[in-house]
């Protein structure tokens, strides 16, 4: 036969032989877990679904990449004005929430002391029966309460109608959002009569001032805000950021100026700033008419401890000149009258500077289902303690796990005869429930929500439910039907939601007449109308009491809570968020308590000592960590730390004692460059200093030929916020295993991409800066790792990639030793993906085995995908079409990827930028990655 050579023949023979010989150990599994696969589901071809991220209140639109019926990656929805294609670390980790091994896999009902599995029908029948018995003559249940997280959409509507139909009390439904910016809401209510959160357009602000608001980590809408702030960075006249807080957090690390206040002194600083702005002496231009009134309402000045009046004046002058600006605050941890006062002062500054309607927009925040004021929640708990609550429905609300111990939640819950928990996992509250009816994960359910006015985000399942779960809203509808509740006609939540969002979409001017049009909107994932921000009218009455002040806190240690972009301290967080080290401290897998160097010396504490913290609320044990950028009076604890619940709300005085024990903190990386100038900073307007004495690119032999492409990256250090969304994206895209605390301690994290930190100590604490450096394989032209490999496991591809062939690798680790960037990662053990986390694995990337070297591939699978599509469409690859996972997800758009051979490509232009430099130029490895030096503020 022509065409069949010996080799081929032998291959065929052996293949058939093997196939015939080995019988599979278990029944062959279908690649596609569907009975009759839809025609658009082609094995090997990814499908993209648009939906909404429910990780936090921001409501970013996401694109879910699905392969063979399993969603493998979450990315931002480019059509969504909030995420604009980017997604934060927490958002991407929602995927691990979906595949979390500890998710509930079916309904449970209490039998005696323990929860036993029960079929849905039985569970609902029992529950219906119980509710029926409890109904009074009017068909209502006096003691019924529904505690839910914020649901600005159909789900909320269903809950409200259910609660009002079955419950008697007027606030039968309480919305519980432990991370809600309640103070800001309250202040806006008092000042402008609008209980809403602002929408920020930081891209318009020339100066940003944050009073401890972690607006790049979790505060309000971090992805959008990072994009906004960094849109103004990189250029010589860049957006300036002033950070006012006892602790230099990640957001603060991006600041040009840090005013290190004493703990709890932010309020005074804000008031002094407001006072300075309003003081006629300073002749601030374009003051609003209310200026005088506000000035009159200001409390008498008080001496500042942490911050000098000059600093305040300096800031005031800057703000009066650089307009519009944006003042942000307070953080979620600020609470009570003081928090409200701070929020009010901040908003008044914004008003005085005329930021409203420009960078600070009111009237856009969704008013649907706003979280209830704290009072309602505590009232509910009090009623429960009095035994007046007979039925408590909990929807994704875990008061026991989230509220401080002082709230005495457990005592309250134990008094409730019937608790029904509608959630995803068995959290602290659900453990006390009588019925646990598991909800779908957000990625498994239909829905719609209004993240902000004039916007409608559509939620749709991206894969068939993994377990025997049911949408909570559906459960409520079923119960309503069983109990024949008046006024609830709908039977099917999906239909209800569809009708609702279609009405909403029409209101926003979307065309939905044809089914195709409806599908298009669903495929779009978001409907955007146009709503004008309004100029808020200040209500002068009650201004003075609002702006109350108390003397600066006395000397002595105070508790400070700070937010982190990841959730290393949260034991319930998914592996990615726990393992990827906190960008400023390098801690993973545990919570910690930060002390300033001076304080640590005074108390004789070393990093890793186990400290006993005690407040008037309670005590907790935390590992000490000496922070280079913290006020001496502050003891800072991550706000995710469960220990914080025992210690009570931040701001209170705290006592420290050494327990004599130590805690094995998992710490990664040293926060110093040893003056090697890897992450470079240049003075404003200045050019980066070049290394002397070596000619870049001079080599003995002719440089590489790159016939077609030369893939390259550029990283703008002026834009990188350090949020580590890129790192988590890399974990998700490239099947990086989560190795756990022990391996983390041993320095065996598998990250291909790390954000390296280094603290440059200044003359004063406030002058110290944190330099961040995203570090990954530099894909050098003259890669030192390549020639030392005896078996060609790593080599240089014609497209300029430094390729690693896992199957060839025998594990000499010579390449890793010889890599000047320490970019290579060795598999010290076989990776473990606990069921069902392995479902998240990206089929385009092989899972590496023990003894093999691996490293960043510039997401070669995505390059090939783009090249393939281009070939199919018979066109060259477009610039920006190829994006590695890290580049794709960067909220600040600090990373640019493309073909350096094309002189017009964005990456080529970026690399030609005057701030550009390569890492370790002295070793002349000719990296494919160019960094742009960070522009140093005037400090």
């Amino acid at each position: 036969m022509p065409g069949i050579g010996r080799r081929f023949f032998l291959k065929v023979v052996s293949a058939t032989g093997v196939a015939a010989a080995c019988s599979p150990s278990h029944a062959p599994e279908k690649l596609i877990p569907l009975l009759n696969p839809p025609e658009n589901l082609v094995p090997g071809k990814p499908l993209f679904y648009r939906t909404v991220c429910r990780g936090c209140g921001a409501g970013c639109g996401v694109t879910a990449r699905s392969r063979e019926g399993r969603v493998v990656k979450l990315e931002g929805n480019p059509d969504d004005p909030i995420s604009a294609g980017a997604l934060c670390a927490r958002g991407q980790a929602e995927l691990q929430g979906l595949y979390a091994p500890d998710r509930l896999r079916g309904p449970l009902a209490r039998q005696g002391d323990e929860l036993k599995p029960l079929p849905w029908a039985a569970a609902l029948a029992q529950l219906g029966g119980l509710l029926g018995k409890l109904r009074g003559s009017d068909g209502r249940i006096a003691g019924l309460r529904l505690l839910s997280r914020c649901e600005p959409g159909s789900a909320g509507a269903v809950q409200r109608s259910f609660a009002s139909a079955l419950g008697a009390a007027k606030n039968a439904r309480v919305v519980f959002e432990p991370r809600d910016l309640a103070s800001l809401r309250a202040a806006n209510m008092k000042l402008f009569g609008r209980a809403e959160l602002p929408v920020l357009a930081l891209s318009r602000a020339r100066s940003v001032v944050s009073f401890g608001a972690d607006f790049l980590e979790t505060w309000l809408s971090p992805v959008e805000q990072a994009r906004g702030l960094m849109a103004g960075r990189g250029e010589p006249d860049r957006t300036r950021l002033t950070w006012i807080s006892p602790r230099l957090s990640m957001s603060g690390a991006n600041a040009d100026t840090w005013l290190c206040t004493a703990p709890g002194e932010e309020l005074q600083v804000a008031l002094e700033l407001l006072r300075w702005l309003l003081d006629p002496v300073n002749q601030v231009a374009a003051l609003p008419p209310e200026a005088a009134a506000i000035r009159a309402a200001l409390p008498p000045p008080r001496p500042l401890r942490g911050v000098s009046p000059e600093q305040v004046a300096h800031l005031g002058r800057e703000l009066s000149l650089r307009r519009p600006s944006a003042l942000l605050g307070p953080p979620a941890s600020a609470s009570g009258a003081e928090g409200r006062a701070l929020a009010a002062a901040v908003q008044l500054c914004n008003l005085v500077l005329g930021n409203f309607g420009k960078s600070m927009q009111l009237g856009l925040g969704s008013e649907l289902d706003a979280p209830s004021p704290e009072e309602d929640l505590y009232a509910l708990l009090e009623e429960a303690r009095r035994g007046e609550v007979t039925v408590l429905l909990l929807h994704r609300a875990d008061p026991l796990g989230k509220l401080p111990a002082s709230a005495r939640v457990e005592e309250a819950l134990r008094k409730v005869p019937l608790i029904v928990s509608l959630g995803e996992r068995l959290d602290a509250t659900a453990r006390l429930a009588h019925f646990v009816l598991p909800d779908h994960h957000a990625l498994e359910s239909f829905g719609d929500l209004e993240p902000r006015k004039g916007m409608l985000a559509l939620q749709q399942p991206v894969l068939s439910p993994l377990w025997d779960t049911r949408a909570s809203s559906q459960v409520l509808l079923d119960l309503a039907a069983a109990l024949k509740l008046p006024g609830i006609a709908d039977k099917d939540f999906r239909e209800l939601s569809k009708a609702r969002w279609q009405a909403g979409a029409k209101a926003l001017g979307a065309k939905l007449d044809t089914p195709q049009a409806q599908r298009d909107v669903q495929a779009q994932g978001v409907v955007v109308g146009h709503v004008e921000a309004l100029q808020p009218a200040l209500k002068l009455d009650g201004l003075a009491p609002l702006l109350f002040t108390k003397p600066s806190p006395a000397e002595g240690l105070h508790l400070v809570a700070f937010a982190t972009a990841l959730a290393n301290a949260d034991p319930e967080a998914p592996g990615w968020l726990r393992e990827v080290p906190d960008v400023l401290t390098g801690v993973s897998w545990s919570s910690w308590a930060e002390l300033s160097q001076a304080t640590a010396q005074r108390l004789g504490v070393k990093t890793g000592d186990l400290l006993a913290l005690s407040t008037d609320q309670g005590k907790a044990e935390l590992a000490a960590l000496i922070s280079p950028a913290l006020h001496d009076d502050a003891v800072a604890v991550p706000q995710d730390a469960p220990e914080l619940r025992a210690l009570g709300t931040p701001g209170r005085a705290v006592r420290l004692e050494r327990t004599g024990k130590t805690f094995p903190l998992a710490l990664t990386g040293r926060a110093s460059q040893e003056g090697r100038d890897l992450a470079r900073v240049i003075a404003e307007g200045g050019a980066p200093k070049r290394e002397q004495g070596h000619e870049q690119g001079r080599t003995l032999v002719a440089p590489h030929e790159h016939p077609q492409h030369r893939w390259a990256m550029s990283i703008d250090l002026d834009k990188c916020t350090g949020c580590q969304a890129c790192v988590v994206a890399c974990y998700a895209e490239n099947n990086l295993p989560v190795v756990g605390p022990q391996a983390a301690r041993e320095g065996r994290l598998m990250a291909w991409l790390r954000i390296q930190r280094s603290v440059e100590k200044g003359a004063s604490l406030e002058a110290s800066r944190v330099a961040l450096l995203p570090s990954l394989c530099q894909h050098c032209d003259a890669a030192p790792c390549e020639p030392v490999c005896p078996v060609y496991a790593t080599y240089h591809t014609p497209e300029g990639l430094n390729a690693q062939v896992y199957n060839r690798c025998i594990g000499t680790r010579y390449c890793a030793n010889n890599c000047p960037y320490d970019a290579r990662v060795f598999n010290w053990e076989d990776p473990v993906f606990v069921e069902p986390l392995q479902m998240q694995l990206n089929p385009d990337v092989s899972v590496r085995s023990k003894g093999v070297m691996e490293k960043c591939t510039f997401c070669v699978q995505r390059i090939r995908f783009a090249e393939g599509t281009a070939r199919d469409e018979g066109r060259p690859v477009r610039d920006g079409e190829v994006t590695p996972a890290c580049v794709q997800t960067c909220p600040a758009q600090a990373l640019v990827f493309g073909d350096a051979k094309d002189p017009k490509s964005r990456v080529a232009l970026a690399q030609a930028e005057s701030r550009g430099y390569r890492l370790l130029e002295e070793v002349n490895t000719l990296p494919a990655i160019a960094y742009q030096a960070r522009r140093g503020g005037k400090g």
Binding site: T699, V701, P703, H704, C780, D781, A782, A783, P784, C785, E786, P787, C789, Y792, T794, Y795, H796, L926
Partner: protein
């Protein structure tokens, strides 16, 4: 095993053995054979052997090694031109190490085999009566096909014992 008649003398002193060998040569015995526990220079001189050809063999082996090394390094690199670290595909400075090692290896092997074959051939072509003492403390001198005159000559040289090998 080939066998030849002749006269075998046993010496205790290498000098005497050497004297005997020389005398035998003078007496016209072209083919004098000896065995000894160590290569005593006097005796070896007296034997006046021609140089061993092992040198040539080894040289041949070494040059084969060089060629093999060149072929292995350059050949395989050209057959599979993989670009690593911006280095040329044929990187001679690096290859020199390999070439040297292969040369020494093949050279050494041929040297050893040459010696074994040489010794083996010698044992095959010229018969020398074996006596364990020749590996310990005595020196044997053997005159193939010699007669009475030789016996006298050997005794005169100071042989401890002289016997005919039939």
């Amino acid at each position: 095993m080939l066998h030849e008649p002749g006269v075998l003398a046993v010496f205790a002193d290498p000098l005497q053995a050497a004297r005997a060998v020389r005398a035998a040569h003078e007496a016209g015995h072209a083919d004098v054979r000896a065995a000894m526990p160590a290569p005593f220079p006097e005796v070896m001189e007296a034997m006046a052997q021609k140089k061993s050809i092992i040198g040539a063999v080894t040289l041949g082996g070494a040059s084969v090694g060089i060629c093999l090394g060149l072929w292995l390094t350059i050949g395989t690199s050209l057959a599979l031109p993989i670009s690593v670290g911006g280095k040329p595909v044929v990187a001679l400075p690096a290859f020199l190490v390999i070439i040297f090692e292969v040369t020494v290896l093949i050279g050494g092997l041929s040297n050893f085999l040459g010696m074994l074959i040489g010794a083996f051939a010698a044992r095959r072509k010229s018969f020398m009566p074996h006596d364990p003492r020749f590996l310990r403390d005595r020196i044997g001198v053997f005159l193939p096909g010699a007669g009475e005159s030789a016996r006298v000559l050997l005794r005169a040289a100071g042989a401890e014992e002289v016997r005919d090998v039939a």
